[in-house]
Amino acid sequence: MELKGYGLLAEALYRAGVRFVVGRDSDGLGPCFSDMKRREGVIALTPKGDISGAFMAYGNTYYRHYPAVVLASTPADMVNSLAGMGTAWGDKIPIFIITLKKERVTGFALPGDAQRVFLRPFCKWSGEIRKAVDIPRVVGQGFREAGRGCHGPIHLDVDEDALRETVGLPAERVGEFVDRGLGDLEFRVVEGDERLIEKALKLLRAAERPLLLAGGGVVHAQAWEEMDALVRALEIPATTSMAGEGCVYGDNPFFIGGPSYVGGESFHRAVRRADVVMAVGASLGGLEGFGRPPFWNPDIRFIQVEVDPARVALNVPVEVAILGDAKAVLAKMLEMVKAGAYKPNPLHKVWLEHLLWVRKRWRERVEKEAHGRWPVIHQGFLARTVKENCPEGTFFVIDGGNTALWAGMFCMDHRPKSALFPAGMGTLGSGIPLAIGIKAADPERPLVVMQGDGSFLYNVQELVTAREMGLSFVIVVFNDGTWNMIKGAQDLFFGARRFGSMLGDIDYASIARGLGCYGRRVTRAEDVAPAFREALEAGGPAVVDVVVDPDNFPENLISFAVVEFEGVPINPLRAVGIPKMKIDRRLISRAKYALNVLLDLDLR
């Protein structure tokens, strides 16, 4: 059979290392999809809902640290990919999307390059292939772009004629031709400047209250080992940004909690009182309070380790900027520390102990509250119970509003590659398709989705996909019958008028069973553990639908609200109304949290 553009594209993707493709074997890119499907070790998947495809690619790319591919043949495929593409962009995940360019308009309404217009905001690079012989070269370029600097999605727009074209190459030369075209796919690492590293170390040592912050850049550079080791070597308190979760290990004696505000009062205390902060692969965006008041000390002197010069000082003034790949810079720093360039400052110990004390105090309070004796199940209790009953090494996928915060408080191992929440966009409904992408990469690893009820239905049809693929994981639905995170804001700012935020009593276990999966509803605290263990054994995607308290909310929600509504005028008259909130002890706890983090107090 003679080689066509389709085959060449599949060959190039395969040789570049692609092992996960979503698409269809019909329509324009169908032949390429079918070709990939036939190849050893490749998972070529057709989701039940077209919107899920890019999310699955995201999950797989995140886990494998290698781009997965979305094949979008029709204009509908392209618009359906946007939710996943935007989510990947928000978290700097380098997925590949390949669209089909048709030279003439043939029967559909998108003009020739519309896909370039609407994908542009979410792709860091867009390439075009017009001739079959160019396929390997442009694919190679795309891969280099995906992994260079700050990562992000890549778009290839392929002319249909190029795919139909016959490539006059003898079979035995194809491999060589493709490899030459792809070129070197090893991503070049930018090393840090030693003098700047020295300067940074000096600044840290001289600080009274220094803080280390690991960001998403550490995850993308797979530099968690180096990060964790550096923290231990410098003996400086450390935390992570939302995206950097897992890069300072939970058992690290200098870890003061996190990620970001999910770490509660100790995180706030740290950023409120720190005088020098070294941010590694973190640009201090909205999820970290922009590195500025009201949460951060305005006089912090920042050191930033960043791979992309354009992201240096994005949100805060930076005194020492070290340009380089997180892995290389951290390794070098560690080497220099070991060679004697840095001696831990004994004064930092007091600062560390203070932060650990704040952490302990806060953890005790939230843990004490998360017990099983509330009239309706407490979300904290549910999250804790799941964590206590899951197998060692369980991966947590998190999807929801408040649910995500509860899971963040009670389920984190603080280990690399152990939990995922698409924090940049906070896209509801990502959970099931992300779980499928991850399970496809590592089928043996136990996985649990911590799932908000509102979010659960977005991509619920993929339960069928997961079942058909034979993937087993458990979905724990936090069924509070409401879009709770938003309902909370209505209670506070809109007189508890809950327009559009109440979903009511919906039986999600029944929906799961209808889709041929395990589904069990739980309403009593004592049934949580047995039901969860049963679900672990059930095989396939298994849903535990737990009725939880709609009048409960996690206290660190307050931190998010303060940043997201910073500078926004709130009309107090609008807020007047009869609160429907249940008044109990928990409200006092929330009030203490608010005072502690806003006024820097130590209320117990």
Partner: protein, 523 residues
């Protein structure tokens, strides 16, 4: 005196514009808008389970009622889902209004990594007619009215408005009088009259038409959007020309119309293609011809003349060279042409009859093919069970292939198919939207299995929001009855025509949404 925030002002303006349906999922930055919509008894708020489906619901409502409806989706996460539905509306020129908050106005451009902050307006650029960002509280009425105007103008289509969170929440004291000054009086914000073709061009068109022996009228999306079916029927009758529809405009005519000759782009109806090739004049009405590009290929420029009518002068001749372009709204265009045409033509009459007969023959062929096909048999039964007033949404390849012919329209504006983006899955949410527009009518979604999976979750919406529709599934076998029951709606596995009628009766007697699994029909 009242304190009005940005959300109030958006809702008040839209209420004044006559908008009634608001579909969306909450988000913190959207709350002033939700609160205003919720408190206004004139406005209906519907909560879907995905913003993508929300946009498709507004599509169904606006497509069928020809009124604007609003899709609300939160910053970033919400808008990227909504884009899927908005794209479908773009493909079919459906006037929906997408409104979203943005992060604080001082953090939008350039983006600085705000939670959910992204260039959402830019993303919408490829799939909306018009976009804007409302930076100034005072400009809300003006820009919202304009958005409605843009959606409803010309060819129509979706528009998108971003309102930064600070503008949504900003509040000011407003007196009754002040409010009057702020809000434009009803009926003063857009042209609602008729847009007639220019006289000399019209004369030229008429003279071309009068010379034609084998004319063919193609009815494009704007004929539907402008509600020009009666005017079109009159034109076809006077001019004695056959009419073919596009895939998106099936119910521009009814099956009994003696001039109706089929659907372009339907594999089993070669008549439409043949007529295109044999015609000496193609009158493409209410279309930019992008949806009919197939047509452009088949019209032999030396032999046939292409006369195009579009409400937007600048869109004439864009996708193909035309002999003559007429700028007018579809109703006025059809009327002017119908009134201007003089003289009968027996040649045209017999050509029309030939086209019509051929069309009916292909329908018969397809009906007899259907006997040997499991989907076909199910669709035939469904077609028999439907009453003329029922509204039917077709979703998926085989649904369209069989349903468009075997459940032919017996009333105008009663068939809905989203042709523009070659996608599927909108069937259920679109049916919910159609039902919201026509609560008295029975609305049926005929979906392929593959298509129904896409937005299956909206069964929950139909139940929670009490929007009862009939969902009929064909194609790949799946246990749809269990799926339906899982969602708490009635599911039926249907093997016979009797069972089909029983299930439809149950729906009529208040059983709410029913899912009819026809994948095992006749077996």
């Amino acid at each position: 005196m009242k304190f009005l925030n940005g959300g109030d002002l958006v809702a008040l303006t839209l209420a004044q514009e006559g908008v009634e349906l608001f579909v969306g999922i909450v988000g913190g930055q959207l709350l002033p808008f939700f609160d205003a919509v919720g408190r206004d008894p004139r406005l209906r708020l519907v909560v879907p389970r995905s913003e993508a489906a929300g946009a498709m619901m507004t599509d169904g409502y606006s497509r069928s009622s020809r009124r604007v409806s609003v899709n609300m989706s939160t910053v970033g996460a919400g808008v990227i889902y909504a884009a899927a539905g908005t794209g479908y509306s773009w493909g079919d020129h459906v006037p929906i209004l997408s409104i979203s908050p943005q992060v604080q106005s001082w953090k939008m451009y350039p983006a600085q990594e705000s939670l959910q902050g992204c260039y959402q307006g830019d993303m919408m650029e490829g799939i909306t007619r018009w976009r804007c960002i409302v930076y100034n509280w005072k400009r809300i009425p003006q820009l919202i009215s304009r958005a409605v105007r843009e959606a409803l103008s010309g060819e129509m289509g979706p528009v998108h408005v971003d309102v930064p969170v600070d503008v949504f929440y900003e509040f000011h004291p407003v007196t009754e009088k002040g409010l009057k000054r702020l809000l434009p009086p009803p009926g003063t914000t857009r042209f609602s009259g008729s847009y007639f073709p220019e006289a000399s061009t019209l004369r030229e068109a008429l003279s071309i038409m009068e010379r034609s022996e084998r004319p063919l009228i193609v009815a494009g999306a704007c004929v539907m959007r402008h509600g020009a079916w009666d005017a079109l029927a009159k034109l076809a009758d006077r001019f004695e020309a056959p009419v073919i529809s596009t895939r998106g405009t099936i119910s521009v005519a009814v099956q009994e119309d003696p001039f109706y000759a089929g659907i372009m782009g339907h594999a089993a109806l070669p008549v439409a293609e043949r007529a295109l090739r044999q015609a000496d004049l193609v009158l493409a009405l209410g279309t930019t011809l992008e949806e009919t590009a197939e047509l452009v290929d088949r019209v032999d420029g030396d032999r046939a003349l292409l006369v195009q009518g579009s409400p937007e002068p600048e869109r004439l001749g864009v996708f193909s060279e035309v002999k003559l372009g007429l700028a007018a709204d579809a109703v006025s265009l059809c009327r002017s042409l119908a009134e201007g045409i003089v003289g009968e033509s027996s040649i045209r009459r017999s050509w029309t009859r030939a086209c019509r007969e051929e069309y009916l023959r292909s329908c018969e062929v397809l009906a007899s093919d259907a006997e040997g096909d499991s989907v076909g048999r199910a669709v035939v039964a469904l077609g028999r069970a439907l009453s003329p007033k029922d509204r039917l949404v077709l979703d998926g390849r085989s649904s369209f292939y069989w349903g468009s012919v075997l459940c032919p329209p017996r009333a105008h504006n009663s068939r809905f198919f989203s042709a523009g983006l070659e996608g599927c899955g909108y069937g259920l949410p679109m049916a919910l939207g159609v039902k919201l527009a026509f609560p008295q009518d029975r609305v049926v979604a005929l979906c392929d299995t593959e298509a129904l999976f896409q937005h299956l979750r909206e069964l929950e919406t139909s139940r929670r929001e009490s929007i009862p529709v009939v969902v009929a599934v064909v194609g790949e076998p799946h246990d749809w009855r269990s799926v339906a029951e899982g969602f708490g709606v009635s599911g039926y596995s249907i093997a016979t025509e009797g069972e089909l009628l029983d299930a439809l009766r149950a729906h009529g007697e208040g059983a709410g949404t029913v899912v009819l699994d026809l994948t095992g029909f006749g077996s």
